[in-house]
């Protein structure tokens, strides 16, 4: 598979702090790569180094097989960036904003007009194209921000937390838009805090912590890294200490917690774990209400690998 981005031994330091520590990874053509990590893990610094917005001490970065540099304008022409913060002109309408940012890449007026229309269509801002940014809700502003970054139809798109503080309707719209971009052949690097988005969108995930890759692979591959098979939650009004001890001794059980009338049983591996538990509760005549069974999430993986939550 063709590599669109190749990062090798990237190191970035701020005084005595290593923001990125010997980081290497590739991004394949047509994939959506999720960059996961808590605040300060080095996600944004990595993107800024790739985009030549930051100088770095060591390493090489190649995009489309060419070295990336501040003056690599031919390479930049094929790149779209959606920053975490909304970056638009307050004095211009939605349409004028998209036209201006598209105009930084596309000189042909009629082509640009078409691109602007397509971008407005993609993010669902047709009804708002004559609105000014201050007239838009937070979600609509985020959509405008995306449209400004991708209007010139780039082959490589960086999306830095595009759904932060966005209402569910706008989030769905944004995620649909990203899917459409992938279908049209764009390669996307997606950073987020939201694991569910990564699981829905990303073909591959790189988990960063303290500027290092601590795990990478498809979401399913990463979940395999978690040292648990499933987590079962049971709503139980009362249960004795003795019964909790006996549950702990059931096959494959790793941990048992009872808190706020909620029994949580974590299984390491194995099959038929839920049936075994239900059988035990029935035999002991323990009254239970609802039962939930969950597969490990990327957050669980991250928790296991680093000892802290993704959103810490």
């Amino acid at each position: 598979m063709k590599n669109i981005i190749e990062v090798k031994n990237l190191t970035k330091e701020y005084k005595n702090l290593k923001a990125i520590d010997d980081l290497s990874f590739e991004v394949h053509e047509g994939e959506i790569l999720g960059l996961l990590g808590p605040n300060g893990s080095g996600k944004s610094t990595t993107i800024n180094c790739i985009l030549s917005l930051l100088k770095f001490e060591k390493g090489t970065i190649q995009i489309f097989g060419r070295p990336m540099a501040p003056n690599a304008y031919d390479t930049k022409r094929e790149i779209g960036v959606v920053f975490q913060d909304v970056a638009v002109f307050e004095e211009l309408t939605v349409e004028e904003n998209i036209d201006y940012f598209c105009g930084l890449y596309v000189n042909d007026k009629s082509l640009r007009k078409q691109y602007v229309t397509d971008a407005i269509e993609l993010v669902g801002l047709n009804e708002f194209k004559k609105f000014y940014p201050k007239q838009l809700s937070g979600g609509l502003l985020r959509r405008l921000n995306i449209a400004c970054g991708i209007a010139h139809k780039p082959k490589l798109i960086f999306l830095d937390e595009p759904t932060v503080a966005v209402d569910p309707q706008s989030r769905n719209n944004i995620l649909d838009g990203i899917e459409q971009l992938r279908e049209k052949g764009a390669t996307i690097i997606y950073t987020t805090h939201y694991m569910e988005e990564v699981e829905i969108l990303c073909d591959r995930v790189i988990i960063l912590d303290k500027g290092k890759v601590i795990a990478s692979g498809s979401p399913e591959e990463l979940k395999e890294l978690a040292n648990m098979e499933e987590k079962v939650s049971v709503e139980i009004e009362t249960i004795t200490e003795k019964q909790l001890e006996e549950i702990k001794k059931l096959k494959n059980v790793d941990e048992v917690h009872y808190h706020n009338q909620n029994l949580i049983v974590i299984y390491k591996k194995g099959k038929n774990n839920l049936i075994t538990l239900i059988d035990y509760l029935g035999k002991e005549r323990v009254l239970y209400d609802k039962i939930y069974s969950e597969r490990p999430t990327l957050n669980d993986v991250f928790l296991e690998l680093t000892g802290k939550e993704l959103r810490d």
Binding site: Y73, I79, A87, V88, L92, F101, L104, N107
Partner: protein
């Protein structure tokens, strides 16, 4: 062109303030032009004089009274000392002449009698004193020439009726030019306020950190972007200056197309260049759009007051003028005044004007150097 077109769109959204500064300029200029009293039409003033004649009917005394009546406004007041003093106090009269008994005869006999005088001491009283002295000085001269009273009066008459003709040799249209100078002095505020506000606003819009990041990652060369932004700011400043030049021609008239008028225009152009560079410096230092109005007031209003755009420099205290030396506006307004008093266009007269223009260009150069230092430090 993308940057220039967007610049125009944003400018269009902020046109109200540019129009406001222009309206302020036109309003104040038109108001002052209408009330301008700097003309050179001289009208002889007549003092108010009270004559208390205690002399008997005498030809030379009567002749003197006729002369005073002809050249002043002779008032009548009740003949008491208190009434006379009140008339002087309330400025009903400026000068009281008491002609004592036998004054005429005593004069003709060469006794040099004295008139009694009371005066308010103001400039109109001085005019009255000049009239009285003039008459008796002439009379004294001719008294030695002839002994005949009738001939003496004829000689006095002939001499006193000779008017002095004052011919103004200057070809300056002082009144029109005073209006033009006033307009361009006021333009100091409008040019500074317009340039500083709009250019700072534009720089803070285009160089806003997040928007700038988009430009940095785009395929547009950053230098090209900066060139387009600089060119847009330059064109705006030029358009603003041109607009004010046209306004000055409309308001003041053809005097603007004389050589002195063209010097005023040239001076304002150089000042606009200086204002542009100052605005670029401030724009690179301050990115807070909310602070713009305050900055405009401090820069434009402050320097206009300190340097005499609103109040003529001769009314400003020395220490204010000393402070004003560090501002470009001082050299611009000082130059306007020099151009206004420029009678002959030769190297000697033009030298101080060119020196002030050089000072304005030096300010522009200093602002450019500081802007470059600030920009380089920011980009590190």
């Amino acid at each position: 062109m993308t940057v220039f077109k967007t610049y125009l769109k944003i400018l269009n959204k902020n046109k109200f303030l540019v129009i406001l500064y222009t309206v302020i300029l036109v309003f104040f200029a038109a108001f002052n032009i209408e009330n301008n009293d700097n003309g050179t039409n001289f009208v002889a003033e007549k003092p108010d004089i009270l004559i208390v004649n205690q002399d008997e009917d005498n030809d030379i005394t009567s002749h003197f009274i006729q002369y005073i009546e002809k050249n002043s406004t002779v008032k009548k007041v009740k003949e008491t000392e208190e009434a006379h003093n009140d008339a002087l106090f309330y400025r009903d009269v400026n000068y009281i002449i008491y002609i004592p008994k036998n004054f005429g005869n005593d004069f003709l006999e060469g006794k040099n009698p004295k008139l009694e005088i009371k005066s308010t001491g103001d400039y109109q009283a001085s005019l009255a004193e000049i009239l009285v002295n003039r008459y008796w000085n002439v009379a004294n001269i001719y008294r030695n020439v002839t002994e005949e009273e009738e001939q003496l009066l004829t000689l006095i008459n002939t001499t006193l009726e000779k008017d002095t003709i004052v011919e103004v040799t200057s070809k300056l249209d002082t009144e029109s030019f005073s209006k033009a100078t006033m307009f361009y002095n006021f333009a100091n505020y409008s040019i500074l306020a317009g340039c500083v506000f709009i250019i700072c606003f534009m720089i803070s819009s285009f160089q806003e950190k997040k928007v700038k990041s988009r430009i940095m990652v785009s395929s547009m060369e950053y230098r090209k972007f900066n060139r387009q932004l600089l060119l847009s700011n330059g064109l705006f400043a030029f358009a603003l200056w041109l607009c004010y030049v046209i306004l000055s021609i409309v308001l003041v008239g053809n005097v603007m197309l004389t050589s002195r008028g063209l010097f005023l225009i040239l001076n304002s152009f150089i000042f606009t260049c200086s204002a542009l560079t100052l605005a670029l410096l401030i724009g690179n230092l301050v990115h807070n759009k909310e602070a713009m109005n305050g900055i405009v007031n401090v820069i434009a209003l402050g320097s206009s007051f300190l340097c005499g755009a609103f109040v003529p420099t001769q009314f400003l205290p020395d220490f204010v003028l000393k402070i004003a030396h560090i501002l470009p506006s001082y050299y611009y307004i000082y130059n306007n005044e020099l151009i206004a008093s420029l009678e002959h266009i030769d190297l000697e007269n033009l030298q101080p004007i060119f020196i002030n223009m050089g000072m304005l260009l030096l300010f522009a150069f200093i602002f450019i150097v500081i802007t470059n230092i600030v920009t380089k430090r920011k980009n590190r």
